[in-house]
């Protein structure tokens, strides 16, 4: 059974929206509600009560809009839900899941147990409804009618064959009348076993009969062009208790618990979306700590975790294998990584344990732009809509910024453990498919060549609002013994965002503890997602009237958040306090720190000298320095 927090019924891959209950309450009090206010809620984690409340709001919006003018911008579809038990509690989950995928779903619910008559009667209300989709939600007890533990094997087999014929007749009636997509729910294995593990040895037992029906359905459904809704498999994955409550069956003939209704709706609508061509087409991958463990720019080829040798490395390899399988069945792959291109590509070219190859990636972007901008480029390059992209990134900051800037891109909440990345993607069902064709299997190659022809164009995105909303605090304190281990680690490990790449031993760093003239700062960044830990180290020593910046390094995890601007304000203030008139900075080029070549000029430093080896020296006049604007509260963190 899946642990709590990782069940389909919890829609755990969707981000939780803060204060969603209050938002729903507020919208309920508004005189008019627009559908654009509801879509972001539908894309958030909702329990069944929240789903019902959102559905009521949606009902108000849809009843005010007529199909002809269609002001709401949703695709309108009609679904007939036919069954043999109580189904009305499943409707809100279906409509909200449809809204999640840009569909306005109108539902016709058949009379309890009347589905065969309704399909056959030309004057029934169902005929007038003319559904695009017929969902056959037949409960297990209904389908297992006639089961008897005393039956012979032959009689049980005949019963199964007869029941399959009945189901097929229902499918054909639906197809003949409506040329609709027909979806057949598999039997929920909700009846208890009479003998146990070897239930099939008692072929007439209800549980054995249900297993036999479920085993038969895929072949017949494929022959008849019917799509299966495999709730037996999903319930088995979650644990039956998350989907079925015998108390509710007896009280209200609800075979599927209302608690599972939001997930049920999502599973059905995935099939509808696949049929309508609305499934996602492209998976956009972050690299560091998503495709391999560690940071390639800092850790190097030998330092990243990937493949045999560690549990972590194996988990990343398994995720790559899953992604490659997605690619082979037609999902396009793209890469968006904050890295130098050469660094980002090096594992693809040279790491022996890489399963993904560059030829699997249709569009490969590695630079230091923000990810929303780069994801736009992916969509433009591949010439597909942003709403057909799924972006996977281990970093909650990057997920947050992409969700905010590009709300139409699906961004799953991935658990911290890479061992769970593949199952999260699978559970989210973005890439639901019904038929796999030869064309699917060739797709990545096609998109890749298109991408190579197309020029990349820049698209700008305004991230200031997002940065403001992050409530960032930069906590600083002088070097101390508590932080020593992390300080020494950062000084010796950081390769990319490191201006002079000076390496120091612990003893050398300790000397700075006693040196009151020097500036030796450890910076910690906090935001609404939590504590990013110590992310930057700055060391400056007095040199005549100037303060010479010996070390300035930062973790690439916090790039693009104006930490640099906040930090230079802080360093300038600290230098002034010590009587300095100028800040002097130096850039010493290495193979890996090209990204900070322009660091000092960007912060307003004037050039002093450039040496033939590429080293540059810069200075900042503190009397004329005007502090930068940023969205970070700077706070001294007293020990």
């Amino acid at each position: 059974m899946n642990q709590v927090g990782m069940r389909l019924t919890e829609l755990y891959w969707l981000p939780s929206a803060d204060g969603i209950s209050d938002t729903l309450k507020g919208l309920g009090r508004q005189a008019t509600v627009h559908v654009d206010e509801l879509i972001p809620l539908a894309r958030s984690r909702l329990d069944f009560v929240q789903t019902q409340r959102l559905d009521r709001l949606l009902g108000k919006v849809l009843s005010g809009a007529t199909a002809a003018e269609d002001p709401i911008g949703l695709k309108r579809l009609r679904l007939a839900m036919l069954g043999s038990a109580t189904l009305d509690h499943l409707e809100p989950g279906l409509r909200v899941a449809a809204l999640r995928r840009g569909i306005a779903l109108e539902i016709f619910r058949g009379e309890y147990g009347q589905y065969q008559q309704e399909l056959l009667d030309e004057r029934s209300a169902l005929q007038a409804f003319a559904p695009n989709i017929v969902l056959l939600s037949l409960d297990a007890r209904h389908l297992a009618q006639g089961a008897d533990v005393g039956m012979s094997r032959a009689d049980a087999a005949a019963l199964v064959a007869g029941r399959i014929e009945q189901i097929k007749a229902t499918w054909r009636a639906a197809r003949r009348r409506f040329s609709a997509q027909v979806i057949q729910q598999t039997c929920l294995p909700c009846v208890p076993a009479a003998i146990g593990s070897n239930e099939a040895r008692l072929p007439g037992a209800p549980a054995a009969l249900i297993s036999a029906l479920n085993a038969e359905l895929p072949r017949h459904a494929a022959e008849e062009g019917v799509d299966l809704l495999a709730i037996d498999a999903y319930a088995a994955q979650d644990g039956l208790a998350a989907w079925h409550d015998p108390v509710l069956w007896h009280r209200a003939k609800q075979e599927i618990s209302p608690l599972a209704a939001p997930a049920y709706g999502d599973l059905v609508v995935r099939l509808v979306a696949a049929q309508q061509g609305l499934s996602a087409k492209c998976l956009v991958l972050d690299l560091d700590n998503t495709v391999w463990g560690g940071v390639i720019g800092d850790d190097g080829l030998e330092g990243i975790s990937l493949g045999q040798g560690s549990a972590l490395g194996e988990a990343f390899a398994a995720f790559q294998a899953y992604v490659r399988d997605l690619s082979r069945r037609g999902v396009i792959l793209a890469v968006v990584s904050k890295n130098d291109l050469a660094n980002a590509q090096s594992p693809f070219d040279s790491h022996p344990e890489m399963i993904l190859k560059q030829s699997d990636i249709a569009c490969f972007i590695a630079n230091w732009d923000d990810k929303a901008t780069n994801i736009r480029k992916v969509a433009e390059t591949l010439n597909i809509g942003l709403d057909s992209l799924v972006f996977i990134d281990d970093n909650p900051f990057e997920r947050g910024i992409v969700r905010r800037e590009l709300p139409m891109v699906a961004v799953p909440e991935v658990p911290d453990d890479p061992a769970l990345f593949a199952s999260t993607l699978a559970d989210a069902g973005y890439f639901e498919a019904l038929n796999i064709t030869g064309n699917d299997l060739e797709r990545t190659a096609q998109y890749r060549s298109n991408a190579q022809r197309e020029m990349l164009r820049h698209a700008h995105t305004d991230v200031e609002g997002y940065l403001k909303s992050l409530d960032m605090t930069l906590q600083w304190r002088p070097f101390d013994r508590v932080g020593m281990q992390r300080i020494v680690q950062l000084i010796n490990k950081t390769n990319q965002f490191n201006l002079r790449t000076q390496r120091y031993t612990e003893a050398q760093v300790e000397e700075l503890l006693e040196d009151s003239g020097a500036i030796a700062l450890q910076l910690r960044l906090l935001d609404k997602f939590g504590d990013n830990g110590i992310i930057s180290i700055i060391i400056a020593r007095p040199d005549d009237e100037a303060m010479f910046i010996d070390t300035w390094l930062m973790s690439c995890r916090v790039l693009g958040r104006r930490v640099e601007e906040a930090s230079v304000n802080l360093v300038a203030a600290e230098a002034r306090r010590r009587g300095a008139r100028r800040l002097v900075g130096e850039y010493l080029p290495t193979k890996k720190n090209g990204m900070v070549r322009e660091f000092y000029p960007k912060l307003g430093f004037e050039p002093v000298v450039e040496k033939p080896d590429g080293a540059t020296r810069w200075q900042l006049d503190l009397a004329r320095f005007k502090p930068f604007d940023h969205f970070i509260t700077i706070k001294e963190d007293f020990a």
């Binding site: 209950s21 309920g28 019902q52 409340r53 509690h89 509710l248 209200a252 618990s257 608690l259």
Partner: protein
């Protein structure tokens, strides 16, 4: 958590399920006093309470409950017994 806290949380659940944010609820409130509290929503309220408090209320108890106060008492009893 006191019984008053339980009453307050149970009342919030009932208001959410019935989508009636301003509904006054006391221990004496009965289903027939509340618009929309039909048999379907009754189930919704019970399973919401069960999942919120991590308890299971059995069929006989549900049948016997006369008002919100008895639901609150059942919650407190089961939470205490865990």
């Amino acid at each position: 958590m006191t019984s008053a806290d339980t009453l307050s949380e149970v009342s919030d659940i009932i208001r959410d399920v019935l989508d009636a944010p301003d509904l006054p609820i006391s221990r004496e409130t009965q289903a027939i006093h509340c618009e929309g509290w039909d048999s379907v929503n009754h189930i919704n309220i019970i399973i919401s309470v069960e999942s919120r408090f991590g308890i299971k209320i059995n069929t006989a108890e549900i049948e016997g409950m006369k008002n919100v106060g008895e639901l609150v008492d059942a919650v407190d009893r089961k939470r205490g017994a865990r």
